[in-house]
């Protein structure tokens, strides 16, 4: 017994004594990149994926017909070139000689199969809505595909990017593997799938016979859910790359660590208040403006986000070059103006109980957000205290994300603090959100002018025209305030200095990994 104990003790001591010669999750030395990522992927079938990790892995394993560069401009991927034959017909010429990871050739049939299955409601593809204007996909010959649309659809190209709805799957592999395909992906991408240990790591290796030659031999996505642990892992050198979401305190510390470099940029998302226009109190635009005037936007950005996010001007994202302008602004922080507006709207404290009322009814307001994001909870708590001190009977309601989304869909909310991510195109950020027929018009906003503009935006390819259209929508939204845009979400990437050739891009895409190396 004592001998056994002594052995155990020796082993434990040995374990302590050995320095970290074998980093966690490392493969062979050389071109191995170890990424620390916040959540596990749900599925590795690009048609079904709906989480950020899945998309980042899928970008490596699959290619789209096109891919978006850092300026969000489409460039050739599996399609070498494309032409818009008429406003509703697009023809794509495919790259020849490309093979899937299982060795089978990539043909037009795979493209047709991919989009036909996405469009089939039975597959339950979450991003199906992005491609529903496609009425027909046909293989003209082995290397040519024709898309026929039900109406002109300007954002189509951007949505064909491999990280949006467009990763092309192997028809044969899908048919052969069935449900197993989701965890045994077969694509044409620069990296091949090796293994996936749930909640632990996803391993990829270089596809040396693909149309791109990656420098790395292996990529390991380590799943580390805790933000602080992820920061510690990159600090100690256990992983080479981490990115948002990160807590502001950790980012501040990492900036002082010589081993890593921190890059910060404005991402493709925003955090906003969804204001229910069908609510009897919030229906009045003066009340919505008053609430906007009460929001201490710069304080929130400084104190809660510690400048990781930027104060937003309007619904237009800075990343939309040519369309963004800082001329369009929402009502700024002005408490006196807010009080005047509320009084003008008939909300006064007539019975002197400290709460605004109208016709014998108190001004009561519920502000909701979801429990997964501590920053958003803090913001809601701050807003509640400000609203209360302005005579509004305000209350916070924090639930998990599915419960919040369900309330938004049902329209039972008053105000909700939520966000949008991955807005590669103004259409993606506005059409479904503000069109009276939009599928995510949870704020119940109807404005005939906005409807007409959003429909027009889908049909106009000319950049100047699109800028005019989306700026006008943004101006109307900033005045009507169905949304109050609080911040432009920041995107932060922390990379070990030994990593070379990695270019972070605002969409959060890891597209440049095939050009990355770790000498």
């Amino acid at each position: 017994m004592t001998v056994f104990l002594r052995r155990i003790a020796a082993l434990v001591l040995l374990a302590f004594a050995v320095t970290s010669g074998v980093p966690a999750g490392a493969g062979p030395a050389g071109g191995v990149l170890r990424i620390g990522i916040d959540v596990d992927a749900g599925t590795l079938d690009p048609r079904l994926a709906n989480d950020t990790t899945a998309r980042r892995v899928i970008e490596q394993v699959y290619d789209g017909l096109i891919e978006l560069d850092a300026q969000l401009q489409p460039r050739p991927a599996l399609a070498e070139s494309w032409t818009q034959v008429s406003p509703t017909v697009w023809v794509f010429r495919l790259r020849r000689g490309v093979r899937f990871h299982d060795g089978t050739p990539f043909t037009a049939e795979d493209v047709v199969f991919t989009f036909q299955t996405i469009l089939d409601p039975a597959l339950r593809a979450p991003l199906r809505g992005l491609v529903t204007p496609i009425s027909k996909v046909e293989a003209v010959d082995e290397a040519t595909v024709r898309f026929t649309l039900s109406a002109p659809y300007a954002p189509l190209l951007r949505y064909l990017d491999g990280s949006q709805a467009g990763g092309i799957v192997s028809k044969r592999a899908v048919e052969r593997l069935g449900a197993q395909f989701a965890s045994n992906p077969v694509g044409t991408g620069a990296f091949k799938f090796v293994s996936w240990q749930r909640n632990s790591r996803i391993t990829l290796e270089a596809n040396t016979s693909g149309w791109r030659r990656p420098s790395l031999t292996q990529i390991i996505f380590n799943i580390i859910p805790d933000n602080s642990t992820r920061a510690a892992a990159v600090e100690s050198g256990d992983v080479d790359l981490i990115h948002s979401p990160l807590s502001p305190q950790d980012v501040r510390r990492l900036r002082t660590v010589s081993r890593v470099s921190v890059t910060q940029m404005t991402g493709l998302g925003h955090t906003y208040l969804n204001i229910n226009m069908s609510d009897p109190i919030l229906r009045d635009v003066r009340v919505r403006r008053a609430i906007a005037h009460l929001i201490p936007q710069t304080t929130i950005v400084r104190q809660i986000y510690q400048e990781m996010d930027r104060p937003a001007n309007s619904i237009l994202l800075p990343a939309w070059t040519g369309i963004y302008t800082d001329d369009i602004t929402q009502p700024g922080h002005d408490i006196a103006r807010a009080k005047a507006l509320l009084a003008e709207a008939g909300w006064t404290d007539s019975n002197r109980d400290g709460v605004l009322d109208q016709g014998g009814r108190n001004f009561s307001l519920v502000v909701r957000t979801h429990s997964e994001d501590p920053n958003r909870i803090q913001i809601v708590e701050l807003l509640i205290s400000i609203l209360r001190s302005s005579g509004i009977e305000a209350r916070a309601e924090i639930t998990e994300f599915p419960a919040l989304v369900q309330a938004l869909i049902a329209g039972t909310h008053q105000i909700a603090l939520v966000g949008w991510l991955g807005l590669v195109d103004p259409d993606r950020g506005m059409y479904n959100q503000f069109h009276s027929k939009g599928s995510q018009n949870w704020e119940r906003y109807t404005n005939a002018r906005v409807d007409a503009l959003l429909d027009e935006g889908r049909q106009k390819a000319d950049p100047a025209e699109r800028a005019r259209i989306y700026r006008e929508v943004a101006r109307i939204i900033a005045a009507d305030l169905p949304y109050y845009i609080l911040t432009y979400q920041g995107y932060i990437v922390v990379v070990n200095r030994r990593v070379q050739g990695f270019t972070p891009i605002p969409s959060g895409s890891f597209r440049s990994l095939w050009q990355t190396s770790t000498p």
Binding site: L11, V12, A15, F16, A17, V18, T19, S20, V22, P23, A24, G25, G36, V39, D40, G42, T43, D45, L48, N50, P121, A122, R124, P126, L127, R128, G129, A182, S183, R198, N199, S200, R201, N222, I223, I224, D226, S228, T229, R230, A232, A233, E235, S236, G237, D238, E372, T399, E400, F401, P402, A403, L404, V405, Q406, I409, V418, W420, S439, Q440
Partner: protein
């Protein structure tokens, strides 16, 4: 004894049925459904209705439960809604990691907690007693997530002795194959999470052992033993500790259950690929089949541990008979 065991094991059937029913009923009470979680924000009203239909969520509740039991009877725990994989496989791939962590942490807390408690009781009021009690107080009051982050910053970042996250090779497999490097790697990954998970239990066990032993030391038979001139060692182990064991065994049984179900925070901090995280994700995404499967497996483990604890009483106290 065997008849007792058989009866206890038979009793597991209604217990499991009850657990299945409760798991099912609870899920009906939480707002938000898996169709929403699956579609995320890309959702629209009609799309949602179609999804709910495809998932069978639009059927009457008793029908859903009946179908669930029917599949369960055939050993089919169903498929995860969001992970597109069979529940049994998901549990099978994550449970070993949780068991490994729970067992090692339990061994740590028993191995350190009982001796520390004994020592403290023996030197009651002394420096050692005070020191142990301060540590024990720290253990029961320090939040797990804070302790975890602190340990990572110290041992992984500052000292660079241990990995900051993740699990090495499975310890059992490494030991079985005699792979020394594997055992070492496994232990290096295990130390921090196991200690973090053990610290609270260790503190609790120390305090409990000290209290239980002190109670027994007041008994007449201890005085008799001492009067007989027996060595203090014998008095402490044979007379005091053994008689103090019953409450300690009860707590150890409960602690194992807690370690299984309560490892979630530790698993999250250390990126440990266990079942706790699977369950938390399933709750967040309203992945009902995964949740139900996990609740059943946990209930089963809990019940088995309970039986084991009851049997252990008999070993500790021969007066206990099993009828």
């Amino acid at each position: 004894m065997l008849r007792y065991l058989a009866r206890r094991l038979l009793l597991l059937v209604p217990v499991m049925l009850g657990a299945a029913l409760i798991a099912f009923a609870l899920l009906l009470l939480i707002p938000g459904d898996p169709a929403v979680a699956l579609l995320g924000q890309e959702v629209s009203g009609p799309e949602l209705a179609r999804f709910r239909h495809l998932l069978g969520l639009d059927r009457p509740v008793p029908v859903q439960f009946g179908l669930y039991l029917w599949r369960l009877a055939q050993g089919d725990l169903g498929s995860s809604i969001t992970l597109h994989a069979p529940v049994l496989g998901l549990i099978g791939s994550t449970l070993p990691a949780t068991l490994e962590l729970a067992i090692v942490s339990l061994l740590l807390s028993i191995g350190a907690g009982i001796p520390l408690g004994l020592l403290a009781a023996r030197r009651r009021g002394g420096l050692l007693d005070t020191g142990t009690m301060v540590i024990a107080q720290l253990g029961v009051s320090m939040p797990v997530f804070w302790l975890g982050v602190l340990l990572i910053l110290l041992f992984a970042v500052q000292l660079d002795w241990l990995p900051s996250f993740g699990r090495g090779p499975a310890l059992v497999a490494a030991v079985a194959s005699g792979d020394a490097a594997g055992i070492l790697d496994s232990l290096r990954h295990l130390i921090l999470p196991a200690f973090t998970l053990a610290f609270f239990n260790l503190a609790l066990l120390t305090r409990l052992t000290r209290w239980a032993v002190l109670e027994v030391l007041e008994e007449d038979y201890v005085r008799t033993a001492r009067a007989k001139g027996q060595a203090e060692r014998v008095v402490m182990y044979r007379h005091a500790l053994r008689n103090a064991l019953l409450p300690i065994i009860t707590i150890i049984g409960l602690q194992f259950g807690n370690a299984l179900g309560g490892a979630v925070v530790t698993e999250t901090i250390y990126g440990w690929p266990g079942m706790g995280r699977l369950v938390v994700q399933a709750i967040g995404q309203r992945d009902f089949p995964v949740l139900q499967g996990a609740v059943l497996v946990l209930a089963l483990l809990f019940s088995v541990v309970n039986v084991a604890v009851d049997l252990a009483y008999g070993l500790a106290d021969p007066r206990i008979r099993y009828e």
